[in-house]
Amino acid sequence: MNAQASHHKLEISELRKTYGPVTAVARVSLDVGEGEFVTLLGPSGSGKTTLLMMVAGLTWPDSGEVRIDGRRCTYLPSHKRDIGVVFQNYALFPHLSVHENIAFPLRMRRMSDQDISRKVGQALETVRLPDVGARETSALSGGQQQRIALARCIVYEPSIILMDEPLGALDKKLREEMQLEIKHLHEKLGITVLYVTHDQEEAMVMSDKICLFNEGSIEQVGTPEEMYFSPRSKFAASFLGESNILHASVKGTRDDRAVLDFQGSATVEAPLRFDVRAGQDVAFMVRPESIVIADEPESGRNVVEGVVRDRILTGGVTKYFVEVAGEVTVSATSLTMRSERGHRPGDRVRLDWSVHDTVVLHGDGAAQ
C-alpha cells in the first residue's frame, strides 16, 4: 500500500465504467476531503449512481482507482471498505427491529452487547428518534425510516458515507426538512459525505462542494457559489438555477475584460476568465435576477435595449420576458413590489447588468 500522507478521505482517479456500448462513467477523477459534503449532481442517467456504486464496491470499474483514507480499494468487496451507504429506499432489514438494524454493522464488527446498546442508543438520539428501538421498521413513517437508515450508517463511524438520492421517496415538505437535518448532522458529527441527487436546489442547500455530472463525465466541480456565479459551460449554467444564455462575437480585450459584440446591437463587457480571440463566437450567461430594467442606465454597466413581450407575477418575484436584438428573448426578474409601476408588453425598455455578472462560457459558442 502506498503510504503517502493524504488529507483526502476519498480519491477517485480516472474511474471508468461501460455497460456494453453505454459509457456510464468516463474517466472520472474526484477528491473528497475529510469532513466535506460533496454532491454528485446531474440529470438522470448521467452516471452518478454508477460512480457511487463503484466507490461502495458494489460495481467493479473497467479501469481507474478508488482510494479511501489513502488505501487503494478499487476492487475490494464492500464489506472490507470502511464505508456507509444510505440507499434510496432505505434498505432497512424488514426481519429485524429498529434496534437490531442499527446494531447490525456493530455486530459485524464483533462489538460487545454493552457497547452495542450504548452506541445504538446514541445513534437514535442523534437522529432524534430515541424511543423507537423496539419497533418494527415497517411501523415507521418514511421520514423516520430515513433517519433510521442514517443512524445505521453513522453508528459505526465509517470513513465516508455515501447517499444515493436518499430523499427521493419523500414528499417535498419532508424532503426540505430532512435536507437541513442531514446538513446539521454533517456539521455536528464532522462526517464525510458523498451525496447523489438530480435536484439542483437540494445540492445547493446541502453541499460544501458540488460535482456536476453530464453524460458520464464531470462538467464542473465547485462550491455552490462558484457553480452558481461562475458556471464553466452552457450545461452548467442552465442546469443550476435560471439563466439567460446569449451569443456574441469577441471584438477584443481591454484590461482584464473581454469586449463582446452582442448581435450587432450592443457592446457587452465581461471579466476575462480565459483567453479569447477577436472574431471568436462565444456564449455568455446572465442570471435573470442580475438584470435590471432601468429607465436611466448607470454607466459602466452592460446595456441592451428590447421590447417587453410578457410579464408574469409568480409571487415574490416578477418575471419579464424581453425581446432583444430582434429575436432573442431574455428573462429578467425583480422583486414584486406593490407600488411598482410595471412595464407592459410592448414597452421599449433598457436592460442593464453589471459587467461582473456577465459570465463567458467555455465550449462551443455557436447559437443552437
Binding site: 488505501r71 487503494r72 464489506h79 472490507k80 426481519h95
Partner: protein, 608 residues
C-alpha cells in the same frame, strides 16, 4: 461517534493484495455444483445408459428400434396410448374451460375457494386418489351399490378396469394442469372487450366465440400440451384402473423390465417415449414461450406447487403471474374486472366437476372405518379394526418408517442442494443459465417410469436397488426441482439493495446470506422443504422399481396392497396419508406465517 472523523478502519482491514487486482469470476455459480452432480449422476448418466443399451452396448445397432416399430402389439399399444392421452386432454379441456371461466367470474374469495378445490386433490398422493376411484367404481363400490339399492340395476355394472375408469382417474389427476394455465391466461384478458363486442351488436355466444375464446387460445394450447405430455408417460392410474385391453406404452416398458427382463427393448421403448416427450416440451416452449410466461417445465412445477395455494399464500398470485402473459399487452385490462354475465350451463358443469374431484377423497374416511372385510360403501358397520390392523402389522409399519426416513433425508439434502442451486441461479450471472435451469427441472416432466427404468438399470449394477441410499438419491432428483423453483422465486422477490446494504455494513457474502437473505426467504424454504418431503413420501413409480423385499416405501406397500389384497387396511392408510398431508401443509403454513410475521419475504412486503 461525537468525535469527528475517527474512522474505525482497523476493524475491517482489507488485504491490499486483493484490493488492487480485478477479482476473478464470481464463486456463486459453484453453488450449482451439488445439484448438477446429482443430476448428472442420478439422471443424465442413467438416461445415457438407457440410450446405450437401446443401440446395443457392444456394437451399434438400431435393431431394437426396428423391433419396436415392427412389433404389431407394441405399435397398437403406442397408438392406443396416444389416443387415450388425446381423449384425456380433450375431456380435461371440456371440463376445465368452464371451471376456469367460472373462476374468472367469481369474486376474490370465491375464486380462491375454487382454486382450493381444484388443487385439493393435488395434496393427496396419486395412489390414494386412484385407490379412491377403485372403491367407488368397484363391483361392490359406491356407484353399483347405490344403483342396486335404487333398483335401477339388478347385477353390478363393470365400471372398474375399463377404459371408462381410466379416463375418470386420469382426468381427475390431470385437471389441475389444465385449469390453472387456462385461468392464468383468462385472467389477463380484458373482459371489457366482451362488452365492447356486445355493444357492437354481437350476441353473447357470438361475443364469447369470436372474442374471448380466441384470446384464451394460448391457455388452451398450454394446458392441452401440458396434460398431453404428462398423460402419455403416466403409469400408476392406467395400470391400476385399466383392464387388459387398456395397457399403455409405459406399462409395456414396465413389463419388459420386470417380467420379461428384455432390457434392450425396454430401453428402445424408453428412448422413443423420452424423445417424444422432449419434442413436445420443445414445441410447447417454442410455440408458447412468446405468448405464455414460463416453459412447460416451470408450468408443470408451478401447477403442482399450487397445492399450497389453499391458504391464500403468495403462490396463488405467483402462479398466475408465472403462467400467463398470453394476451398482447394492449389487450390486457384490469384483471379483477368481471364480465357482466355468465353462462349458467358452464357454472353447472364447473361445479359438478369440482365436486366430483373432491368426492373420492372425502369418502375414504367413512370407508376406512368400515367393519366389513372387503371394500364396501357405505359401510354397514363401523369400526377401527383396519387402523388397528395397520398399526399392528409389521409389513405396513416398516414401510411407513422407511418412507419417513427416506422422506426426511430427501427433505434435508433436497432443501440444501436446491436452495444452493436457487441462489446460484437467482444471484449468479453466467452463460447458459436457462439451459441449466431447464436441465435441473427436467426430471419433473420426463415420464417417471423412464427415470425409474434408467435408475434401476444403473443401481442394479451398483447394488443400490432395495437400499435407502438408492431411494434417497432417486427421490432427490424429483425433490430438487420444487426447491429450486420455490426458493428462486422467493429470492427474486428480495430487494437486492438489502443484500448490498448488508455488504456495505460489513457483512461478508456468506454472513449476508445467513443474516439477511435466509431469514427473508425462510417461509419459502419451509415450503420447499415440505415439498421435498412430500415429493419423496408420495412417490410410487420409482419406489416400485427401486424397492427391495426388505426396504420398501409405504407407497410401494400400498401399490402391492391395492393389487393383491382387498381388505380396507389400504383405505385406512390412505385416509391417514391424506390427514398427514393436510397436517403437514397446515404446519408449514403456520411456520411460514410465523416467519413472515417478522416481515420476512416470499410475501409482498418488499417486492420490487
Amino acid at each position: 461517534m461525537q468525535a469527528s472523523g475517527t474512522s474505525s478502519n482497523g476493524a475491517l482491514a482489507g488485504s491490499p493484495a486483493t484490493a488492487g487486482a480485478k477479482p476473478g469470476p464470481s464463486p456463486v455459480p459453484l453453488l450449482l455444483a451439488p445439484a448438477l452432480i446429482l443430476l448428472l449422476g442420478v439422471f443424465i448418466v442413467p438416461l445415457l445408459g438407457v440410450l446405450f443399451e437401446s443401440v446395443g452396448r457392444a456394437e451399434f445397432t438400431v435393431g431394437h428400434y426396428i423391433e419396436v416399430f415392427d412389433n404389431e402389439v407394441l405399435m397398437r399399444v403406442l397408438v392406443r396410448t396416444i389416443v387415450l392421452s388425446l381423449v384425456v386432454t380433450a375431456i380435461c379441456l371440456l371440463l376445465g374451460y368452464p371451471i376456469a371461466w367460472v373462476m374468472l367470474l367469481s369474486s376474490g374469495w370465491m375464486q380462491r375457494f375454487i382454486a382450493l378445490l381444484i388443487v385439493l386433490p393435488l395434496w393427496t398422493s396419486l395412489l390414494v386418489r386412484t385407490y379412491a376411484w377403485m372403491v367407488i367404481l368397484g363391483r361392490k363400490g359406491l356407484v353399483n351399490e347405490t344403483l342396486i339399492t335404487l333398483g335401477a340395476i339388478d347385477a353390478p355394472l363393470t365400471l372398474l378396469y375399463t377404459r371408462f375408469s381410466v379416463y375418470i382417474g386420469m382426468v381427475h389427476i390431470m385437471l389441475p394442469f389444465m385449469v390453472l394455465p387456462l385461468f392464468a391466461v383468462m385472467r389477463r384478458i380484458d373482459t371489457s372487450l366482451l362488452s365492447g363486442a356486445w355493444s357492437l351488436g354481437a350476441n353473447r355466444p357470438m361475443a364469447f366465440f369470436f372474442v374471448f375464446l380466441p384470446l384464451s387460445m394460448p391457455g388452451i394450447l398450454a394446458g392441452s400440451l401440458l396434460v398431453f405430455i404428462l398423460s402419455i408417460g403416466f403409469f400408476v392410474t392406467p395400470a391400476l384402473l385399466g383392464g387388459l385391453g387398456d395397457t399403455t406404452f409405459v406399462m409395456l416398458i414396465e413389463r419388459q423390465v420386470n417380467r420379461l427382463g428384455n432390457w434392450p427393448l425396454a430401453a428402445a421403448m424408453s428412448v422413443i417415449l423420452l424423445v417424444a416427450t422432449l419434442v413436445l416440451v420443445i414445441v410447447y416452449n417454442r410455440v408458447l414461450s412468446s405468448r405464455v410466461d414460463g416453459s412447460a417445465l416451470s408450468t408443470a412445477v408451478w401447477v403442482r406447487l399450487m397445492s399450497l395455494a389453499a391458504f391464500g399464500s403468495f403462490l396463488v398470485e405467483r402462479i398466475v403471474d408465472t403462467l400467463a402473459s398470453a394476451v398482447p399487452r394492449t389487450l390486457r385490462g384490469g384483471p379483477r374486472q368481471r364480465p357482466p354475465s355468465t353462462f349458467p350451463f358452464a357454472a353447472i358443469v364447473a361445479w359438478a366437476t369440482i365436486l366430483l374431484m373432491i368426492f373420492p377423497i372425502a369418502i375414504l374416511y367413512p370407508l376406512s372405518f368400515s367393519d366389513a372385510p372387503y371394500l364396501q360403501f357405505p359401510p354397514a358397520e363401523y369400526s377401527t379394526r383396519w387402523y388397528e390392523n395397520y398399526f399392528a402389522r409389521r409389513d405396513w409399519v416398516r414401510p411407513t418408517i422407511i418412507s419417513f426416513e427416506v422422506g426426511f433425508i430427501v427433505m434435508i439434502f433436497g432443501t440444501v442442494i436446491g436452495t444452493a442451486a436457487a441462489v446460484a441461479l437467482a444471484r449468479g450471472s453466467f452463460a447458459g443459465k436457462k439451459l441449466v435451469l431447464g436441465l435441473l427441472l427436467s426430471p419433473i416432466i420426463v415420464p417417471t417410469i423412464i427415470s425409474a427404468v434408467a435408475l434401476y438399470y444403473v443401481f442394479a449394477t451398483l447394488g443400490l436397488v432395495g437400499t435407502r441410499t438408492g431411494l434417497v438419491l432417486a427421490h432427490l432428483i424429483l425433490a430438487v426441482p420444487f426447491v429450486i423453483v420455490v426458493v428462486a422465486s422467493a429470492l427474486e422477490r428480495v430487494d437486492p439493495a438489502l443484500e448490498q446494504a448488508a455488504g456495505t455494513l460489513g457483512a461478508t457474502r456468506f454472513t449476508t446470506f445467513r443474516k439477511v437473505t435466509l431469514p427473508l426467504i425462510r417461509p419459502a424454504v419451509i415450503t420447499a422443504a415440505l415439498f421435498a418431503f412430500l415429493a419423496s413420501f408420495d412417490e410410487v413409480v420409482i419406489a416400485i422399481f427401486l424397492s427391495g423385499v426388505r426396504i420398501k416405501t409405504l407407497p410401494k406397500r400400498m401399490w402391492d396392497g391395492i393389487r393383491e389384497e382387498i381388505d380396507p387396511t389400504t383405505a385406512a392408510v390412505a385416509a391417514l396419508l391424506v390427514t398427514l398431508t393436510v397436517v403437514l401443509i397446515i404446519l408449514a403454513e403456520v411456520l411460514r406465517a410465523r416467519a413472515s410475521r417478522r416481515g420476512a419475504a416470499g410475501h409482498d412486503q418488499f417486492v420490487k
